[in-house]
């Protein structure tokens, strides 16, 4: 099988080809490594690629298959892994200077499950430092570019993962979604990206940004592939106390089912309208009409508390991060600055943190430290938690009448690199539509719904479902994906500059 044939396949097809012996894990891995070598100089999706380690993993998978083991449908399929998950055989930095060169002694649960599933970790992908950002411009190791337009952002924080999959450098990638960090990059790169139910996928080994929000999830070029990856690494993990002890929702089955007949779809009134790019709204409206034409019952739903979601998020997430990032103190791992025998441990900690963290990380640590301070706690962290409760209630009330909620995934398509780096508030608005699902902990997914007329860049449709009803998001997404491909005569990504 030729390298270009391999790279063009879906993950499901590639997994089947490896199982049937048409190709091998080693051959598939080699094909993708070649593709990375060819294009990553322009895209900069990866922070770390180790050809030998990847090929060694692939050969081990081939040996398992030859021995009659059945690791599952993705055995032999390469995956790009967000650099926020620990990997015992590769460095893990969370794109921060403070962890430069750190080699964890252990695999994250998600990493371990990828390996169990016979997947080959190609390398670690770029991201906003500690997953704080919406453009991957906050990485300490350079920006990642959007394969649709190299002068634009790939989204963030999982922008290395979205760019890698969109540029065909990997068939699949992992991401983490704290306020939209999977769905927003998926939307602006023309991919499928899912934020599972909070607790549906394990956080053990995920370098924490905001513990009550962080959720590992898949990025893929199509809905079925996303579902297969979702299923491969999700499920209960006793090492994560917040992990849900329930079966993984039947996402693969739902992705194959792909029908919306009789499904009740609610359009969230508060997510749309003024401030949204017209081309984004147009594609969104068409997608809703499409769902109706496929037999769904569409109604408008109001979730008034969603208006306060962004503000609540920017108190809760920084508060948690201010505490989570306290461990980076130069004592046990990572960067150490100024330890010349004349300084106290406290001084070394302070110098290290001053040099090791980037400006956005510092901004959020300071914000969170302030929000948790004695005398301010009730006004900031306390009220933000109350808003969170109200948002949950809005979702609960909505889901009494509808099966899923829909909205645009992002207010705009991919914006130009550098456009918002000087204006944090403008940057934060990129997550306006995605944040409510994080605050409530329910399932959400972004699926491409076309290109905006103004800029010919991808637009994402967000589908939200109740907690542990992740399968509904896949069912709707698969129906939209199939209908749009019929109309268009092929997948959206075929129009990208980096299509193969």
């Amino acid at each position: 099988m030729t390298a270009s044939e391999i790279v063009r396949m879906t993950a499901a097809e590639l997994g089947a080809a490896v199982r049937s012996g048409q190709t091998s894990a080693e051959e598939a891995t080699g094909a993708y490594l070649d593709r990375v070598a060819e294009v990553d100089g322009q895209v900069n999706a990866f922070l770390h690629v180790d050809r030998d380690t990847a090929l060694a993993q692939a050969r081990a998978v081939d040996a398992r298959l030859a021995a009659g083991e059945d690791p599952g449908p993705l055995a032999g399929v390469p995956v790009a892994h967000k650099d926020v998950f620990t990997t015992a055989d590769m460095p893990t930095t969370a794109a921060s200077r403070i962890l430069e060169g750190w080699r964890p002694p252990y695999d994250a649960t998600v990493t371990a499950r990828l390996r169990q599933a016979g997947m080959v970790v190609l390398g670690k992908t770029n991201m906003d430092e500690f997953a704080m950002g919406s453009s991957t411009e906050n990485s300490a190791y350079g920006v990642t570019r959007n394969p649709w337009d190299l002068d634009r952002i790939p989204g963030g924080s999982s922008g290395g993962s979205s760019a890698a999959v969109a540029a065909f450098e990997a068939p699949l990638a992992t991401g983490t979604d704290t306020g939209g960090s999977i769905r927003q990059p998926a939307a602006v790169c023309g991919l499928v990206g899912a934020k599972p139910t909070y607790g549906g996928s394990s956080r053990y080994g995920l370098i924490a940004f905001a513990s009550s929000l962080d959720t590992p999830g898949p990025l893929a070029r199509n809905v079925l592939d996303a579902a297969l990856l979702h299923e491969a690494f999700s499920g209960h993990d006793p090492r994560d106390s917040t992990s849900v002890d329930a079966p993984v929702p039947p996402v693969v089955e739902a992705a194959r089912r792909a029908d919306v007949e009789g499904l009740r779809v609610g359009v969230v009134k508060e997510l749309g309208g003024e401030g949204y790019q017209p081309g984004v709204l147009r594609r969104f409206t068409e997608a809703v009409e499409l769902l109706e034409s496929l037999g769904a019952k569409v109604v408008e739903v109001s979730c008034p508390s969603f208006d306060a979601a962004l503000a609540a998020y920017y108190l809760i997430a920084p508060s948690e991060c201010s505490s989570n990032l306290a461990r980076f103190d130069a004592m046990r791992y990572g960067l150490r600055v100024g330890d010349d025998g004349t300084r106290s441990a406290e001084e070394v900690m302070s110098l290290t943190r001053a040099e090791g963290f980037g400006p956005e990380v510092k901004r959020r640590i300071i914000l969170g430290t302030y929000a948790l301070s004695s005398g301010y706690y009730d006004a900031y962290y306390g009220s933000a938690q109350q808003v969170r409760t109200l948002i949950k209630r809005d979702f609960d009330a909505a889901f009494e009448n509808v099966d899923v909620l829909v909205s645009p995934t992002t207010p705009t398509t991919a914006f130009p690199l550098g456009e918002r780096t000087g204006d944090p508030m403008a940057m934060y608005l990129a997550d306006l539509c995605t944040i409510p699902a994080n605050l409530a902990g329910n399932a959400a997914l972004s699926v491409p719904c076309g290109l905006a007329d103004e800029d010919n860049l991808p637009v994402g449709l967000q589908i939200m479902a109740p907690a542990l009803a992740d399968d509904r998001t896949y069912r709707v997404a698969a129906a939209v994906e199939a209908a749009l491909a019929d109309r268009r005569g092929g997948p959206l990504l075929a129009g990208s500059a980096f299509a193969v």
Binding site: T86, W102, S241, T242, S323, A326, T369
Partner: protein, 516 residues
């Protein structure tokens, strides 16, 4: 306990001379508060599966979780929660049906996450009490110490300062951190303000810690070895003028790690604060460190520059929600608690108040009870622990319970004496051997050849020899002067190097000489 009474100049470390305790008590009424940390004896740490054994080589009982490696997450140790609930129940607390862990944020090199997982406004157990008894010249007096809360938290690592002369951070060349202790489960037991103790305050504080220690020990949730730091005390003291109603500013003395130190720390702090107040000064709200060698404290961090711990519920953990059934089951299976045990023992052994007090003061009640349980008569068990063994403990400067002899071994020694296999003198030698690490009493008897010579053939030979060796004495006995047998018994004892049963030897002598 806040609110300064006086407004004089702030004074802490180097201050006016302390006032003698009795003088201080004439002017002031102390208010106490005690915060006690108990290291639990669970097999694994609070939030990971690392072992908790004391004394392991540095940094050998660590993992990604307790080293706070990026990405690692805590999982609550259910056994620690159970221990906390049991202690709460034994302290007559109510147990929360739902509570959370909170993060206490502050930077310190031996705290891996730079926050401690603790509990803040939602403790697992709250509002209990512990009754303690203090001896007074007028007889025993009982005080009820009210318990504010019992909550769960994790211990920090340990920093050792190397180089330099003092072993303290100032002057040290470098420091090393051992994370073996990081994450060991702790219970913090906080009292409500203890008032109206007057001059008995130091003894009440000591009695409370002793009673708490015995309670913890009876529950089997910790070995509570104060010298190993598995029970540590912080002592809060404030003074108010006699007849006043407004509490003074308190200080918190940390590092109080023996019963004697608790008493001394309270006493010296009362004396120090009285000195400050008498000279028109103002007591500073501060943390002080107790010095074992001087029995006084030196100032540490002032609360006026106190940290803001930014407590918030730990989002990595789910709430602890013990079911009512579980709590009731734990309540129903509590062992007999020390106070009940004391009452029972006093009645069963017919002890006077003084005899019970001696047992309690010698810290011997559990040891004696265990010895009785192992078969010894109460009087013998008491005699051994209060006399011989207490003396050994004092000589070797260890706690009675830390002597290398078990109640079972003491009971065996008692049994051997009762059987006539040992004399009291030999029994003390056997105890010597056990304390020396020579093994069980029977092993020591065997190895040292200490068995009483009571077997009649061996003894008979010695008796015959004695009679033959002193015909005069033998003749006198035959003629009815029984007292003359003493010389013959002495000869037998000399010949057997003291191992003969003197009573048996005498009986045999009289028998041989035809006297009944």
């Amino acid at each position: 306990m806040v609110g300064a009474v006086t407004n004089g100049p702030a004074t802490s470390g180097v201050g006016p001379a302390p006032v003698a305790f009795d003088d201080a008590m004439r002017s002031y009424e102390p208010v106490l508060g005690l915060e006690t940390h108990v290291e639990l004896g669970t097999a694994s740490k609070m939030f990971c599966s690392c072992a908790t054994a004391f004394g392991a080589a540095p940094n050998t009982q660590v993992c990604p979780v307790c080293l706070a490696l990026p990405g690692s997450l805590p999982v609550v140790n259910g056994a620690a929660v159970e221990s906390a609930i049991r202690l709460g129940l034994a302290l007559n607390c109510s147990v929360a049906s739902w509570c959370r862990f909170a993060r206490k944020n502050y930077f310190y090199p031996d705290m891996p996450k730079n926050y401690q997982i603790s509990q803040y406004d939602e403790p697992l157990c709250s509002d209990g009490y512990l009754d303690v008894t203090v001896d007074t010249p007028e007889g025993p007096r009982e005080f009820r110490v009210e318990i504010e809360r019992v909550h769960m938290e994790e211990d920090t690592g340990k920093t050792a300062h190397m180089g330099g002369a003092t072993g303290r951070i100032h002057g040290a060349e470098y420091s090393i951190v051992d994370y073996n202790r990081a994450g060991i489960p702790l219970l913090e037991i906080v009292t409500k303000p203890i008032e109206h103790t007057g001059e008995l305050a130091p003894q009440v504080a000591r009695a409370y810690v002793a009673e708490l220690r015995d309670l913890v020990r009876s529950l089997g949730i910790s070995d509570v070895r104060m010298e190993q730091g598995s029970l540590r005390c912080d002592v809060n003291v404030s003074l108010m003028p006699r007849g006043g109603t407004e509490w003074g500013t308190r200080s918190e003395t940390k590092n109080v790690n023996s019963l004697r130190s608790v008493e001394r720390a309270v006493r010296s702090e009362i004396e120090r604060q009285a000195g400050v107040l008498n000279s028109g000064g103002r007591v500073v709200q501060e943390t002080r460190h107790f010095q074992e060698n001087t029995g006084t404290s030196v100032p540490g961090r002032s609360k006026e520059e106190a940290q803001d711990y930014r407590y918030f519920p730990d989002p990595d953990l789910v709430p602890v929600a013990p079911s009512a059934e579980w709590v009731e089951e734990l309540r129903a299976t509590l062992p007999e608690l020390p106070a009940a045990k004391r009452a029972r023992i006093k009645a069963e052994w017919s002890l006077s108040d003084e005899e019970l007090r001696d047992l309690v003061n010698a810290d011997a009640i559990e040891l004696v009870a265990a010895t009785v349980e192992a078969g010894a008569p109460p009087a013998d068990a008491r005699k051994w622990w209060l006399n011989e063994l207490s003396r050994r403990a004092t000589e070797t400067e260890v706690e009675l319970a830390d002597l290398p002899i078990t109640p079972e071994q003491v009971a065996r020694v008692v049994a051997l004496v009762a059987e006539g296999a040992l004399t009291n003198k030999l029994a003390r030698q056997v105890v010597d051997g056990v304390l020396n690490g020579e093994g069980d009493p029977d092993t020591v008897v065997e190895a040292r050849g200490l068995k009483v010579v009571s077997d009649d053939s061996a003894l008979g030979a010695a008796v015959d020899e004695a009679i033959a060796g002193d015909p005069d004495a033998a003749e006198k006995v035959r003629n009815g002067k029984v007292a003359a047998a003493g010389a013959l018994v002495g000869a037998v004892m000399r010949a057997t190097r003291g191992q003969a049963d003197a009573g048996r030897a005498r009986a045999l002598i009289l028998e041989r000489l035809g006297v009944q």
